[in-house]
Symmetry: C2
Subunit: 306 residues, 2 copies
């Protein structure tokens, strides 16, 4: 009669949760990081009322807790000032051991719950940079690679240098937000139309980014190319997307010259980055964006949970 009870008490290693601004993804993780169950739903931290995080967590993973899970590791914006409790940024270089040592426990009835810290670094000019959530994916990526440069596209894209299981430094580019602001709130909005992504004007934008004159001049060029009949309204957004991603890729590769980039994600925005990187003469290896579950399990192992 002991076996079922033991199975109930420790059916898996841990629960891992990636709790961001707009969504919550939870994983029930077994030996080796095997995902035995998963949950993906809205209910990001912005929807949680003050003091409501314990109830919101129980609402999400209550059935797994009832089944005997006793350890929960949370990463993402849940550890920010706007989240449950602030888990202060940890300085790079950082790997699973350093991150595990900097996790922050939060009171929770019936389980040990800890928050993964974000990371901070400074660029060569001493300007600070931060990430929160991406560090967990990078921990998983770093264990499978030697020295590498990883790119995580997003509203605020991250480029991280990985060495020997650790994130040694990284750089953020505000490309996604800049694209939204510039395409919607400048004169370029007047001569562009929404529509499908177009590969040819995107490639022209990427090529333009490698020419001289600077981004602010290149932006006006999107206007004049249209004026001169060399860029259609339907092509302008793709050209602008290529121009901005091209500038980001060029700047990132100038900082860290490599011949191959490890790209997290294969579809959507990541596919555009893959194309821009290839057009820039760099090999691309795409990785599962679901790396976060493996990363949570790696950090859990450093906590002695697995």
């Amino acid at each position: 009669m002991l076996a079922p009870q033991r199975r109930r008490a420790h059916p898996c290693d841990m629960i891992g949760v990636d709790w961001g601004t707009t969504s919550l993804r939870a994983y029930r993780l077994g030996p080796g990081g095997t995902v035995t169950d998963r949950l993906d739903r809205p209910g990001g931290i912005l929807t949680v009322p003050a003091g409501g995080f314990p109830a919101a967590l129980r609402d999400a993973v209550g059935p797994w807790l009832a089944a005997g899970e006793t350890r929960v590791l949370l990463c993402g914006m849940v550890g920010s000032r706007q989240g449950w409790v602030e888990a202060p940024y940890l300085r790079c270089p950082a790997g699973p051991a350093e991150i595990a040592g900097a996790t922050v426990p939060v009171p929770f009835d019936g389980a040990e719950v800890r928050l993964v810290p974000g990371l901070t670094t400074e660029d060569r000019d001493g300007i600070p940079d931060v990430m929160r959530g991406e560090e967990t994916k990078l921990v998983a990526l770093a264990t499978t690679l030697d020295d590498a440069l990883a790119c995580l596209p997003g509203t605020h894209s991250k480029w991280a240098r990985l060495e020997a299981d650790r994130v040694v430094g990284f750089t953020t580019h505000m490309t996604g937000e800049a694209f939204a602001a510039l395409s919607q709130h400048t004169i370029l909005a007047r001569t562009s139309t929404e529509g499908p992504h177009l590969a040819e004007p995107f490639a022209r934008g990427v090529a333009r980014a490698r020419q001289s004159g600077g981004l602010l001049h290149h932006l006006f060029g999107a206007r004049t190319l249209h004026l001169m009949g060399r860029l259609e309204q339907a092509e302008t957004r793709s050209f602008l997307s290529g121009l901005l991603i091209g500038h980001e890729v060029a700047a990132a590769l100038a900082e860290t010259p490599v011949t191959q980039v490890e790209l997290v994600g294969a579809v959507g925005l990541a596919a555009l980055y893959a194309e821009a990187l290839r057009l820039s003469g760099v090999a691309v290896r795409s990785h599962d964006p679901d790396l976060v579950a493996a990363g949570l399990h790696h950090i859990g192992r450093s906590l002695g949970w697995t």
Copy 2:
């Protein structure tokens, strides 16, 4: 009895009008370009109904016409597709003679009225650029200078190379619009407040622009500097202004290395450019933004009007 009539018929050389999107500035111009009377008012081309340009011009300069003026030269957006008649862009290099030869006559009862064309050029990569209105100021500037690099700050800043009375080429930077879009429609809006221009964070932004990493990374740095307590909310807009103007200045000087820049304007935005240029180690000479009257008179002379 002839003298008064002769005075009525040709009391001055011509009327010059700078008719832009949002305003109309008219000058009654005598020998040597002397401004004998002037008018500055709203009533830009966007307020003129279809077919209403003759009436709008008469409403503005009717008294001068009644006093005997017979020649009117118009520059600015009045010569664009959205204006009276499109005066097609003239290719650089262009000086007063070429511009006079490309002016476009429009029918008007009782006076000869002509539109000044805008200019077009291509950068070293074959991407077109355009200006409309600035060419008239540059014509005036070029007559007083030898080879020079002129900067005309604005929503779309122009950098023009002047040689022997002519505009040989130019570059536009979408800096003003980019500043508005990025400061109001990204995460930077959340941590910045309106307020007076601050010289110290502006200078930090200009210095930052000369460092590595690229503009898209530098933009995110404004966020992290605030997060780390190194940039106050009241300082963020000035820092961002310095960052963007600094990127423009750095790109323009990389294209055309000079030790002195001729800056049109002395107050407001031009004062910021003067400071950014000085911080970049370049001497600045400021010129009267009212150059347009002199430019119209120079073109008028090439038309044989003076």
